[in-house]
Symmetry: C2
Subunit: 339 residues, 2 copies
């Protein structure tokens, strides 16, 4: 028998927990009825979880509840978390993963605390200079992996190289039929553009570019993130965070203006096509930021997402483990460190 | 008689010049028939310009052609520009402004060269640490001024303070009935977020916040640039450039997806409402980046824009001078440097 994909899920993080977490789990179980290759380890207050599972009519052998009496509070800061978060549902998730009982952890809780305790418990990979937070972002031809989205607000050239290795490994695990093509975010595409740090990173990425690892496409500008020419977009955490949020704000601004512009008659006639449009750009599909560079992946779901959104982050975890992310990372690192 | 608003226009910069420049001028003249308060000084090859003006049936006392035999080439870099661009149409524009014969200069030519020769000829204001490139960006309630959009890829706290002063002065000159509300772009809105440099800039901006100058709103995140809570968005040139271009790319991605999603029937029924939608988001309306911090403003039009787009940048120049930008800047600087 093959080893099952084992996912540790913090049922207590984010708004409306554990309700939306368990609704997400229900959708995942329904959509994977024919698969017998996974276990969902649910961490949280056992009584509440069991009651909720009953209400939702969830009854599956793939579920394993592990009681955790306490929960990381929303007020907790990364500074105080280490002291106060021990034995919370979030802590227990990561610890389960450290013990080799789960392959990946998923939480919709406090981001800062999740990053700190994941790093403390799982530890950084020896070959990586800084861990990074990666996200999915649609492009014209499919999907981008973008990192860093905010784990490191100041980065050096070696950090960016590591992000390229981690990001292209993530891309390969999620889209095994496609080639990772790395683009380095900059204010222009010419070689003379950008800071000295970016120029140095670009030079090294050019040397590392290969068919096995990733193809380096050079600098890309903000307006080309979604053009599809590159699919692994590398930047520091400050710029990445602002670019992602600016894109979110722009999308919201445009769709709300579109709604205001359409009259009732045109809304009626556009109903199905607008529904298709909305579905394609549904942010729930991109829910889940992946913490990379530790001895095991950790996924952060948006805290305000609904059950369908949480389903997408469980699905992301499943695909990451199935695509053998940690193996891809090790291959990339071996290639570049020996190169 | 009041002194006329005098605009120096480089007719030779950008694609399809001088055609689109002169088409833009024609629209401006048509829309300002009843105004007798401006002069357009057109710099370029006199013969070509005169012939084109005839073809377009433009005949106005508000036009003053100044012959410039040479043109800044697209291949010119900021390094070689100083030597090679002397007496080009662009150079002559800025020189006209230095001599006090124009209040503002406008070019759709090579950005790097325009920034370098503007700075060299007009010189920086004594009280300003670095000049910046500002742009207009729509928000929920109206319009934002955003800077720096790429003149300085590395900035310190004093540069950001100066950008706040320059940007709020620009905002006051363009929208005299509204109050400038400054937001500092960051990865979170809490005080502990961001680099030490941003924290220091934020502290000083808080001290400078006043009813006369600008109200400081604190940090804002990328998704709130268009929320309308702040209308003067301050950031370094690297982040600003990437944020602006990411927003452009996102807008393009969404509208092209929308087109694909709508079928012919719904397109037919949505025609007028989609037209309204498109008009509201028309990038030509925001054409023109304003170079601030020199002893006189210089406006850069997009190089690939059409006549209507160029019209909007002439209109921007007209409003900037009419709103007495340089006076507003001096008031702001006096307030903050003495404070």
């Amino acid at each position: 028998m093959l080893k099952k994909i084992s996912i540790a899920i913090d049922a207590m993080g984010g708004d409306n927990s554990p309700d939306k977490i368990l609704e997400g789990i229900k959708i995942f179980l329904n959509r994977n009825k024919s698969n017998n290759d996974f276990i969902l380890n649910i961490f949280g207050k056992e009584e509440i979880i069991k009651e909720k599972l009953n209400q939702l009519n969830i009854n599956s052998d793939a579920i394993n509840i592990i009681n955790s009496k306490t929960v990381v509070s929303d007020e907790e800061t990364p500074m105080t978390a280490v002291k106060n978060s021990k034995n919370t549902s979030m802590w227990n998730c990561i610890h389960h993963q450290l013990e080799g009982k789960s392959d990946i952890s998923l939480s919709a809780g406090n981001t800062g605390v999740l990053l700190v305790i994941s790093r403390m418990i799982l530890k950084m990979m020896n070959e990586v200079s800084k861990p990074a937070l990666a996200g999915l972002w649609p492009n014209k031809n499919g999907m981008n992996v973008v990192l860093d989205l905010g784990a490191n607000i100041e980065c050096n050239d070696q950090n960016l190289i590591d992000f390229a290795e981690l990001g292209s490994a993530l891309f390969k695990s999620l889209f095994p039929k496609e080639k990772p093509k790395v683009g380095l975010l900059n204010v222009g595409s010419e070689e003379i553009k950008g800071t000295e740090m970016l120029k140095s990173a670009s030079k090294k990425l050019k040397e590392l570019s290969s068919d096995d690892n990733f193809i380096y496409n050079g600098y890309i500008e903000g307006n080309n993130i979604m053009s599809g020419d590159s699919n692994v977009i590398i930047t520091d955490g400050f710029t990445g965070n602002i670019a992602l949020k600016t894109a979110e704000g722009t999308a919201k601004f445009i769709t709300s203006n579109l709604k205001k512009s359409l009259n009732k008659l045109s809304l009626l006639f556009s109903f199905f096509s607008l529904k298709r449009f909305k579905e394609k750009l549904d942010p729930r599909k991109y829910n889940g930021a992946i913490f990379l560079g530790l001895n095991g992946p950790v996924v952060k779901s948006h805290g305000g997402i609904d059950g369908m959104g949480f389903y997408h982050s469980i699905d992301l975890c499943y695909k990451i483990v199935k695509g053998n992310l940690m193996n891809e990372i090790k291959k990339n690192l071996k290639h570049s460190k020996s190169g």
